[in-house]
Structures are given as C-alpha cells and as structure tokens.
Symmetry: C2
Subunit: 418 residues, 2 copies
C-alpha cells in the first residue's frame, strides 16, 4: 500500500476489501463467500468490477493514477473519483430516477461502490449502433439535464452556495484540462494523439487545422468552458455515459464534473446523437436500411431539446419566487419580463449547446478518442464517408449556430445533408 | 481581544501595535516615540490611519466586521482585508508603478500596513470635481488595467494556475454579494437603501424599476459578473479608488477583488469618468464654465480605452508564444487568425465594459452609494438635471452598447446629450 492509502485492486484483493467493508458486504446480504467479481471496464479511464452474490450486487469503480486507454504514460489524478462520487450523490439527490445510487466511497482508494445497472441495461451508444429505439430516452435525459443544471445554477442557488461549490470543483482541474486539450485544442493543431480514417480524411483533418473561422469560434467556446461557472455539469455526457433499457435511463461516469457552461452537457448529448445519425448509413444492410431508425434519431434529437426546454422553463416558473440570485422576484416582477428573460436565457443556451455539440462531434472524428458508432463500420471508405458528412455538418453548425432559431431547423439541416 | 485574535484599534492601541511590529516600526526609522497617527478613512467600509515619524511613514488600514458608512447593522466579513492584501501584492507585482507597496499584513487583525501616498496625492474623484487635469491619467490607468487583467487571465495563465486562484478568491464571496446587491439588484427594485435627488428624480428612479429592457440587459451583466472568472479584477475601480498627482497614479482599495469579467474594471473606471463629465455643469461658475475641462474628460475617456486597447493587444502579441491556455500558439498560428482573435476579443471586451460602466453609473444615481461628483452640487435642481442626463445616457448605453463600434462613438454620444 502506498503511503497515501491507495492500492490498485484486482479481483482477489477486491474480495478482501469488500469483506472488510460493511457498507458493501451488507449489499450482498453478507453472502461474501459466494461473491463473483468480473472486471468490465471498457471506458477510457478506469477499472470497473461487477460484484454479485446470490442476494445482491453492486459495481466497484476504481480510478488509477493514469488514463487506462493510453497507459501510465498519460498520468491522471485519481482524485477524479472524489469529484465523481460527489457529483453522483448531488445529481442523484436532484434526479434519483436517472442516476445510480452510491453505496460507498473511499477517497484514499479512489473507489466508488454503487448500484449495478443490471441487464438488460446496456451502454446507450451500443444500443444506437444496434438500431434499438428507446421511446423514453428524450423524456428521461431531458429530465436529468433540466434538474441537475437548474438546481446547481444561480437561478436556484444563492451566490454563497454557488461560490463555495465552484471553489471545491476547481480542484477537478486535471480533468478539465483533459477536456480542454482533447475537445478544444488537439483537433485544431498537429498532435501525436490525433487520428482519423486515413488516407480518406487526411485533407479533411488538415482543413480543420487550417480553418481560421472555425478556430475563432472554438476559442470562444473554450473560453466559456474554462471561465463560466454556470452549473455543476456532468462534463462528459455523451452516449457512452448513459445506460439504458426500454424503460430506464441512467447517467454514469461524471468524473469530469465541474461548474461549467450548461450548454456543454446538452451539446455533448445532442452532438453524440447526431454522430449516431451520421453513422447509420454505415450500419445499414440489405435487411435494414436504417431509414426508420434515422427518423427516430432525429425525432429524439428534437424531443430532447424540446422537452429540456419545457422542463427547464417549468422549473424557472415554479421557482421564480425562490432565493436564487440570478432573477430576484422583486426585479423580475411581471409576466412580460419573465417571458423575455426565459426567451433570452433559452436562446443563448440553445446556441451554446449547438456550439459545444458541434465541437464534440469534430473531436470524435479528427481527435484522440473516437466513437464506436463510426469505429464499428468495418469498411474504411464507407466509414470515412459517414464521418465526412458528420464533420462537415459539425463545422457548419459551429460557425453558423447563432442563425438557428430552434431545434427543428437543426434537424432540417441534418436531413438536407443526405 | 476576541478569540480569533481580532481587536479594533484606535490611535492609542495602534501606536502600541506598531511598536510591537518590526516590519512597521522599521519603516519609521524606529523613531516610534515621535510617531503621529491620524484617522482619515473617508471611504464606505474601513478605518484608515496615516502614521508618520520624522524619518518615515505608512498607512494602516483595518477592516471591521461591518460596513463603516452603514454601521454595525450591515455586517461584512473582515476577511476582505485578506483578499485586499493578496490583490495589492499581486497587482503590485504586475504593475508596481501604480499600486502602493504593502509593508505588513496581519490576517487575524484584518490589518494592512502599506505605503503612505503622500501629498499632493489626492483621491482622483476630488481632483475631477476640482477641475484638475491629469495629463498622465489615461496612460497610467490603462497600463494598470492592461497588465493586471492580462497577466491574471487564461491568455497568460495555464488552467492549473487559473483554477487555483479562482478557487481562493471564491472566498471573497461576501464582497461579491455586496456588489451584486448594490450594482445589479437594488437599483432595479424597491430597496430601503436606495435614494436619489427627490422629488426631482422620483419618476426617473421609478422608470428604472419599470424598464423591462433594461432589466433584461442587467440580468446578462449580473450573470457574467457572478459566473465568468476571466481575470483577477480590482472589483471597485471607480475614481474614488485611485489617488493621483500630476505625475503619479496609484490604485488602492481592491477589497472587492475576485476572478470576474475584465469589463467590470474597465467599465467602472470609464463609467465614473462619464459621471464626472455629467457633473461638471453643476460645478461651473462665472469664473470657470468647465467647458475646457469637459473636453479634457472626454479626451481622457477616449485615451483610456485606446491606450488600454493598445497595451493589451501589445501584451497579446508579445506573449503569443507563451503558455497561456486561451490561444495556444500551435492553433493560433498565422497572422490573419491572430488578428481575428484580437479583434473579436477586444470588441467583446469593449461591449462588456460599456455595459458594466453604464450599470455602475445607474447605481450611483438611484442606488445606495452616491458619488461626490453629484453630491457636492448644492442646488438640488441643478444636481438633478446633471444626474438625469447621466442616467438617461447610461440607460441608453446599457441597452445599445453592442451598436457602438469604438470609443469615439461613445464620446460623440456623450457630447450629443448636451
């Protein structure tokens, strides 16, 4: 054991750890001699174990002091587990239906014990690749976003509550820096970590690195990401951070959480749905042309924003006489003004979300970490065609985002690409 | 002595304190038996003593746990002295010519010992009321703003440095809350602290409270003030926070400092110069119509922004290959793009500054704390006329700020009021 109390676990030492930890062993009905442990971490960063016994289960997630998918050559603070645990608890308190419960947190061990999202839960991204429709997805994710973003912002908080929380999450700086690098920097310059479907997209990747207008817009988004402490955002809300069944939607992996711009979460989710859309042609086969599924994806994109808009503005209405600092009831004291405030807030947020969503799309095509939506398309030429359409759309969206008045116009623009 | 080590000093106990504090007594050549102590605090918040001996001098500033000009009924953390001392040292390191040196800081006592700005130094606001021209003022204050704002922003800082500093200054939340209240909230609602030149401006004050468009814009500025950690700003850079002679400009009283939007400092200074301009007609007399002085004020407003622009963009050029996170040299790698980035940054900052400046003007006419520029106009009718012109201009500037392309247009608009 290192002097800081940290030791990386394996199947065997984890079993010992569980036996010594009542908050975990009790979840197994104390049937700890019959427990089964399976390492399943397929993400980029951490080790994840499913632990089951005949009468219970949970997941153990341990952060190691480097990025798993790169290796020890890219160190990364294991303190991220602390910010993940705090955020799971806070977002879980605000939206318990869509955040798994935390049973146990060990800061020294960077270890979280939490609800096992049992089958048929799968990672949403895998469902989207398989062409599965989730009729409640937009409803659920918009609920999660509306509640977590609203209740951690100054619309609901006093300044005192807000600044204290902002200060704490400034500690998650290493994860913020990682996002700054892989989302806002590397795709726009030559970087050893960048890759793309070569040689097909060589010229496209070069064009991203040579696009002054694009870089100017990215600078604005990066500045907002770094400077604007608007709400406790998830920080990595792509379709790989959501687990789903036909009637359950669970948001996981908020280790990138910090007080940042709300649009970053909304954009991450919507941007990844758009990526899923552009990947569908690569998954079509003679039995399934994916046309109906593409329509469902577009409907889900539209509904996600529209339901978020509805839920968020409903929270604004409901709490308009609350103690949030942003819109004091004694000032914003007439329906016409309240309407103006809502419209301006939602319009600005919409444009932020489009900008961040586009940036998240671009980085998944020419940056370090790609998405399985495209990677699973075996034919490189087909994959490159899908990726190029997504990339071109994202570049347009990032540059022209302020011209879009609503999500319907965005969906129309997506449809026009094909 | 209170259990936290704090005790409010008076002339006598301060003398004892100085004798027991080598960093202070040494500044007096240890001639502590001949020291003279004079309380001179005329600000809103603190007690200030000038301490002199035949061979040296300094100023002692002590924060008490309430707001001096209101009394013990408005408590205010004395920890503000800590943030003032940290900022004096940091801004002093960045711009030693225009920030008084700190000799001593006692956190438990909320006490700062610093350079005595000897006569003929006076508070700039008093000089502006007296009609004194300061030919180097724009040069000096633009130097102070350019250096302090540039070097504490992400244009120069890494994210790691930035977030650590942001987190620390989140602790100055009580002073931030005071600004939120008196600048962005109280003037736009009924508040016991508001006052104005009554009955002349009764209808004007009411109009501010009923102006939906104005309130919508103020919400945006308040959100930026609360959320955007752009640089370590002074936080209260009006003309009462600057001491001047014909060849010296010294910025004092940064107890409101925190990581906030750069435009708040620039706007505070420029907005108070505009207030000084609109007050001049109230100071005119048969011997001096103040016309030439008003021209000097307008020139100084114009030069302050233009010199700030020149100095800030020169710093951008000079450090374009530095380690700041905002504009990585590998991305912003061609002169055309660098030019675009500069233009966009300065244009956004200009509009922020106009907005904040206008908000600072409004609050000085219908809010709690007024300015001597107007208060010293004895005839209430004359005073109200001056204030109304300033208020109307500020309302227009706040609402229409994005239409102004440069400071020359702002000066033209000011001239058109008369």
């Amino acid at each position: 054991m290192a002097s800081d109390g940290f030791r990386p676990l394996d199947d065997k030492s984890l079993a010992e750890y569980i036996k010594a930890t009542p908050s975990l062993s009790s979840k197994l009905g104390n049937q700890i001699d019959e427990l089964q442990i399976k390492e399943v971490g397929d993400g980029n960063l951490n080790f994840v174990y499913i632990v089951t016994s005949p009468s219970g289960s949970f997941v153990i997630k341990q952060a190691l002091p480097y990025i798993r998918c790169i290796g020890e050559s890219w160190p990364m603070t294991k303190e991220r587990a602390y910010f993940e645990a705090v955020t799971l608890k806070e977002h879980g308190r605000l939206c318990p239906d869509h955040v798994p419960e935390v049973y146990h947190f060990d800061r020294a061990m960077s270890l979280i014990g939490m609800r096992y999202l049992e089958p048929p839960h799968i990672i949403l991204r895998k469902g989207l690749i398989a062409g599965i429709e989730y009729p409640l997805l937009a409803e659920h994710i918009s609920e999660y976003m509306a509640r977590t973003l609203f209740f951690t912002s100054l619309i609901y908080h006093t300044t005192t509550e807000h600044k204290q929380a902002v200060a704490e999450f400034c500690g998650n700086v290493e994860l913020c820096r990682l996002t700054e690098q892989v989302v806002f920097s590397d795709p726009y310059k030559v970087s050893q970590y960048n890759h793309w479907t070569s040689p097909y997209l060589d010229r496209d990747a070069e064009a991203v690195r040579e696009d002054n207008t694009l870089k100017l817009e990215v600078a604005e988004l990066k500045s907002m990401f770094c400077e604007r402490a608007q709400a406790l955002i998830h920080g990595d809300l792509h379709t790989g951070s959501v687990m789903v069944t036909s009637d359950s939607t669970q948001v996981i992996d908020p280790e990138f959480a910090f007080y940042g711009p709300m649009g970053f979460d909304i954009g991450a989710f919507v941007g990844n749905l758009i990526l899923a859309f552009f990947a569908q042609d690569g998954h079509a086969d003679p039995k399934n042309d994916r046309k109906a599924y593409k329509d469902w994806l577009l409907r889900t994109i539209e509904e996600t924003w529209n339901l978020f808009h509805k839920k968020f503005t409903a929270l604004l209405d409901k709490h308009k006489d609350g103690s949030g600092e942003a819109y004091l009831p004694a000032i914003y004291n007439n329906p016409q003004l309240q309407q103006l405030v809502k419209q301006k807030f939602m319009s600005d947020l919409f444009h932020d979300a489009l900008g961040f969503g586009a940036a998240k799309m671009i980085r998944r095509i020419v940056g370090v970490a790609h998405v399985e939506d495209f990677e699973s398309i075996a034919d490189a030429g087909v994959r490159a065609d899908c990726e190029r359409r997504a990339l071109d759309f994202a570049k347009m969206l990032l540059k022209e985002r302020r011209k879009f008045q609503g999500i319907t116009e965005v969906v129309s623009a997506i449809q026009k690409v094909h």
